[in-house]
């Protein structure tokens, strides 16, 4: 672990902000934006203690990852299929219950568009189940270091990882309010966007997205009324970035 961290600082202009937001002991769920394969190197390297994460089991086949990922605490799991996914979350819960840090990407997959996508509620569910605080994380620069088809990360470039104020699902009405997990997830994504500088879109990441372009959604199940105007995918033509200067939340709904 220390080896990887030292390497990260040597090879890149690696800046870390907000490290004081990570609790010095006890569980916490680390939730970063996801743009590049090498996010899984940089974010854990920025953490003051060891963390675990779910990694695609196919990654474990590569010589690069079969050494590095275990060193970073990666629990490999085949990410296809319901039962496997459930097992992975059970393992994640066990890690949190044991008082460790666990990393999960709320977007569920890499953002191919560059936008910050709608979060999946799984992270909130996990945090609520284990009573763990959630640390929003926004990073910048990893996409330039290793774009999607690049085989190796390019050294010498700047990477910044920013940790935000811890958040708690209980502050959002959990477990009484059925909207609590979605509301929490939306609030979490807002904080991540503020930390990463990305523009947010309220649509799940899809492997069909392209840089700056969202894939059109699959055929709807409920027919739309014929006279209704086409629903806009984005709130405005140019989604606006989030004001970074406003203070972090104390709690909230």
């Amino acid at each position: 672990m220390a080896v990887v961290r030292t390497a990260a600082h040597r090879l890149w202009d690696f800046q870390i902000e907000g490290i004081e937001n990570i609790p010095s002991d006890g569980p916490a769920l680390i939730t970063p934006n996801h743009l590049s394969f090498c996010d899984s190197i940089f974010v854990p390297s920025a953490l003051p203690r060891r963390s675990w994460a779910i990694g695609k089991s196919e990654y474990m086949d590569s010589w690069k990852t079969s050494y590095i990922f275990p060193a970073l605490g990666m629990i490999p799991i085949n990410r296809t299929g319901g039962k496997a996914a459930l097992l992975a979350l059970d393992e994640a819960a066990a890690v949190l219950d044991a008082g460790h840090l666990f990393m999960i990407y709320p977007e569920g997959t890499r953002s191919r568009s560059g936008y910050l996508h709608r979060g999946r509620t799984g992270a909130a569910r996990l945090a609520a189940r284990c009573g763990a605080p959630v640390i929003p994380v926004g990073h910048e620069g990893t996409l330039a270091v290793q774009p999607p088809d690049a085989p190796m990360p390019k050294p010498g470039l700047p990477v910044t990882v920013r940790f935000g104020t811890p958040m708690h699902p209980d502050d959002f009405g959990y477990p009484d309010d059925p909207r609590a997990l979605r509301q929490f997830t939306d609030a979490l994504m807002y904080e991540i966007a503020a930390l990463s500088g990305q523009t947010y879109v309220h649509q799940y990441a899809s492997s069909d997205d392209k840089p700056g372009e969202l894939a059109s959604l699959p055929k709807p199940k409920i027919a739309m009324p014929p006279g209704r105007a086409t629903a806009p995918k984005l709130s405005s033509a140019e989604p606006a970035p989030i004001d970074l200067r406003r203070p972090s939340p104390v709690g909230g709904r």
Binding site: T121, P178, R179, L181, R182, Q183, D186, A187, M189, Y190, E191, A193, T199, Y200, V201, H202, L217, P218, P220, K221, I222, A223, M224, P225, P226, G227, R228, T230, A231, P232, L234, S235, S236, P239, A240, P241, I242, D243, R246, P249, V250, G251, G252, R253
Partner: protein
């Protein structure tokens, strides 16, 4: 079939209507309706005619509705308390063959003649019709139009919803039937306007169908309601939240609602505080329901299950409800989206407005309500806000109703309306208009402690009075820039 047959088949000596202390039995009601039918038929009313009835919650009104619908006519009920220009506008919109005036609408006699339609008054028509040969109840199909109801809507101009015999019949069956259903022992408070689908179908038609009695109250007077409830042994009350709020805050001895076995609320969101107050004061748990004029109206309600605070209950059996994203994809469970429904109660469309109809009704019968909602894990529905009112801040949805309810938690805030305004940085921003003795900085801090950052208002405006609609709903559109 014909929904006017709800008054038939009951013991003729049992009470159907109670009005200002006078009772009208099913026998008497039936006789008046039969005579009215003959009288209207003599004026040329038949299947497909349009009959506009002007009145209030009075026995004349019931007689006129039942007679017109009984002839297979399309009936448009409107209130006599409308000012004359309103009445004229509604008459022009509906374009009826005949206008029927109830006792409370007599003042219009003479004012309407100039429009060149047939105008008649209920009692005179009944008297004339009693001397004529009876006009039989007309057989109708499920799809035949029974009612033309004007939907006021606070966010759009008035439209005429076309409701069929089948539409109303289906909802009546749901309301009357089942183990906890209405029967001939029931006495309902008929305060909700009979010109509105809630009062018309859920109170009037359903109660009469079950053979019970309806205590007609023309004007809202909280104390008078409580007196009527106690005096006539009312067993079932359907009210709007504002009514429940006033009843529970009226000074009266004892518990006038001790005989009430069913209490419902609809037409607007029931504040949790009101629910609790009613439970504590009257020992009743209000079952909230949800529906629209366009759905005849009941879609969901809390009958038969323990009500959950803030929920409008579970879908009626036979009602399909899906929560969808703007393009029709069903949302993940627990996510908010537009409520889209399909049921036998979904209306036929808006009269003479195919474009408006095409905006909300699909070819296979799905009605897009324009309301945002979410289900919990047990299938209870919660309403969030109107889709048109959503404010999108940096790509995130903010529901004004949610921000308003937080503002109303502040002790100094009397009223609050939240709308969106254009913002160069975030697309839209949240703007709050509040009435009350408030300090803006303090209110801002209050919000930050309770709401996610992007939901907090960018600016606050303190005003003396907030714009309200005629039905007491806050008028957001009046405050949008």
């Amino acid at each position: 079939m014909n929904i006017a047959s709800v008054i038939d088949g009951h013991e003729s000596a049992t009470t159907a209507l109670i009005e200002e202390g006078q009772t009208m039995t099913y026998g008497e009601l039936g006789a008046q309706v039969t005579a009215m039918r003959a009288g209207l038929a003599a004026l040329g009313v038949g299947k497909g005619s349009r009959v506009l009835v002007i009145g209030e919650n009075e026995s004349d009104f019931v007689v006129a509705l039942m007679a017109a619908v009984g002839l297979g006519a399309q009936c448009a009920p409107i209130r006599a308390s409308n000012p004359l220009p309103e009445v004229e506008r509604k008459v022009a919109t509906v374009d009826p063959n005949v206008v029927v005036l109830c006792t409370t609408a007599k003042w219009l006699d003479g004012s309407l003649e100039s429009i060149g339609r047939q105008v008649c008054a209920v009692q005179e028509t009944v008297a004339a019709g009693a001397k004529l040969a009876p006009a039989a109840l007309v057989e109708c199909d499920d799809g035949d139009t029974a009612f033309l109801l004007l939907t006021s809507g606070v966010t759009s101009h008035a439209k005429v919803a076309v409701l069929s015999h089948g539409n109303l019949d289906w909802v009546q069956q749901a309301v009357v039937g089942g183990g906890d259903g209405l029967n001939c022992e029931d006495v309902a408070l008929g305060l909700l306007p009979l010109t509105h689908i809630f009062g018309l179908n859920v109170v009037l038609f359903a109660t009469l169908r079950g053979g019970g009695s309806v205590v007609l109250q023309q004007r809202f007077d909280a104390l008078r309601s409580l007196e009527l409830i106690e005096q006539h042994g009312v067993t079932t009350i359907s009210g709007a939240p504002g009514m429940w709020h006033r009843w529970v805050n009226t000074e009266v001895e004892g518990n006038p609602l001790s005989g009430v076995r069913r209490a419902s609320s609809g037409a607007a969101a029931l504040p949790i505080e009101t629910f609790n107050q009613v439970r504590d004061r009257f020992g009743i748990e209000i079952g909230e329901g949800y529906g629209l004029t366009e759905t005849s109206p009941v879609l969901t309600w809390s009958r038969g299950v323990k009500p959950r605070a803030g929920s409008v209950g579970r879908p009626l059996e036979g009602v399909e409800i899906v929560i969808v994203d703007p393009d029709g994809t069903p949302t993940d469970p627990g996510d908010v989206g537009e409520i889209v429904v399909r049921s036998p109660g979904v209306f036929q469309g808006y009269m003479d407005a195919p474009e408006e109809t095409a905006q909300v009704l699909t070819d296979d019968g799905w009605f897009w309500t324009g309301d945002m909602g979410v289900f919990d894990a047990d299938g209870f529905l919660y309403l969030v806000d109107r889709i048109k009112d959503i404010v999108i801040v940096s790509g995130f949805n903010v529901y004004p109703a949610e921000v308003e309810s937080v503002l109303l938690e502040h002790p100094e805030v009397r009223g609050a309306i939240v709308v969106g305004a254009a913002d160069p940085n975030t697309g839209e921003a949240v703007v709050a208009h509040v009435s009350g003795q408030v300090d803006i900085d303090e209110l801002d801090q209050f919000c930050r402690e309770r709401l996610s950052r992007y939901k907090c208002p960018r600016e606050f405006h303190v005003v003396d009075e907030l714009p309200m609609s005629a039905t007491g709903k806050p008028l957001r559109r009046a405050l949008r820039s």
